[in-house]
Amino acid sequence: MSGVLNSIFEPGFFSSGPVHAALLTGAVVAAVSGAVGVFTVLRSQSFAGHSLSDLGTLGGSGAFLLGVGPLWGFITAGVVVGGAMDLAGSQRRNSRDVATGIVLGAVLGLSALLLYFDTTSSSTTGVTVTVLFGSLFAVSGFTVPATLAFAGLGLSALALCYRPLLLSSVSSDLAAARGIRVRLLGLVFMIVMGVTVALSSLIVGTILSPALLIGPAATALRLTRRPLAAMGLAAALGAGATWLGILLAYDSYHWPPIGDGWPVSSFVVALIFLAYLLSALRKPERRTETVYSENTVHAVSGAV
């Protein structure tokens, strides 16, 4: 029995400091990402979420050149770029996408340049891998409380704006009619999304952080019709995938090639995708009726 347990939880898993830090920050960040992701999907802003994380590359690579931690680069990029994208794009979805696309191209070009300088100045590609694919086991020291604080901030903002955000996601006119300042709310949400994406970039990297934002949310949408339940479920799915990913990555030190563990981010993203596929197996919910004759409707709903 203990042999089986030992082969699942490799010796040292529960006593390792980096693992503790990874489990804590990973779960908290993934949970916030999942909850924010539900609103990202509700507001049809997945493209903006993708762009925010791609643009985090600029912050991450710039931070290494300046000699500060990548978290600060990601956060700065997320907040500045998120705010700029919201202010540049109008409320019309089409022009918003175009504005996002244009900024995206320009900033990614600049990121490529910075990553090149990072590589040449350190003579390794380590920085590039860290920025693009994350380094959860390397999260330590002051970064841990800082990450938790930012996650708490994002979650608080989301809880505070929950009802107005929900209403403005359905119709900005409906929200405005109730005196909600829709533009300001949109800006606040973009910044919350910028911070969230920055945090998940720390864990799974800028390329994979959209998966943490959109994946659990997309799965949760299939499983529940309630907004709060969807947020809770997405948070739990994200945290669960991250924990399982950390466990698998720790175990993978004993997988071939022996001695080199597999990256956490690949496991986390694969697990999120697996959950999404599994959720598709669930029989899609059907309306009880598609006919609009009053009598038929009553007959059908009476029979159910």
Binding site: L42, R163, P164, V170, L174, R178, I180, R222, P227, Y292
Partner: protein, 290 residues
Amino acid sequence: MTTTHPDPASPATGPVLALDEVSIRLGGRQILDRVAFALAAGEFTGLIGSNGAGKTTLLRIVMGLRSPDAGTVRVGGKPLARRARQVGYVPQKIQIEPDAPLRARDLVALGLDGERLGPRLPSRTRNRQVDEMLEAVDAARFADERVGTLSGGEQQRVLIAHALIGRPRLLLMDEPLANLDLRSGQEIVELTSRVAKEQGVAVLLSAHDINPLLPVMDKVVYLAGGRAACGTTEQVVRSDVLSELYRHPVSVLRVDGRILVVAGSTVTADVLPPRSEPSVAAAVGRGVRA
């Protein structure tokens, strides 16, 4: 107008909505020119005009989303300001994906407290209010469906419940019939009229066609050329009044209980075979669609 409104604070003494000399220019065009009318509690008023006549602009001014260049708007005797609770609004359509995790009852509940900050605590009272409101608009059977999967007519019912659950004194509806088939449209009109009478709410419903509203309408506000004529259908929808409003000869024809507003003179269109004057068929397209 008699009302069954439960709130004693809405006496029949003052109008629910009063516009006085409201004017606005947008993009160099005079959209509204000294528009004035008043609505009483429980009255169902059709806001009629062709596309671009300024119906939506007028509704946005009443909601306080736009400020007029001149004139005053009073809701319940109070000037344009913080009065979101007094005005319910039903938009023409909403943008929501079929898989969005939002049930009809969630959207109705947001009609009670959608603008409040912070998390919401569970409340039996609120749940009961939501159930009653859904029942009142015949939406109880799809209360737990996702809003995005509902048909246009069903979504309208949910939006009406959302707008009315906060017990407003005025209900604004922006072209609710534009995206509905004839039958659903008729159902929505009758439902709105019934619920509004029950709650003593004044309704201002915009449409480009007056006919679906004829059975329920107490009053009409007719918009054309930036100006408005207000009164009963008999007072307003007449050849002389509308000709004056359009600043162009217009004829009002009544056929099988339906109203047609056409350009040109009645004699030509009604009695004589078409000559060089525009025929009814040709003129309908140029006049207000009726």
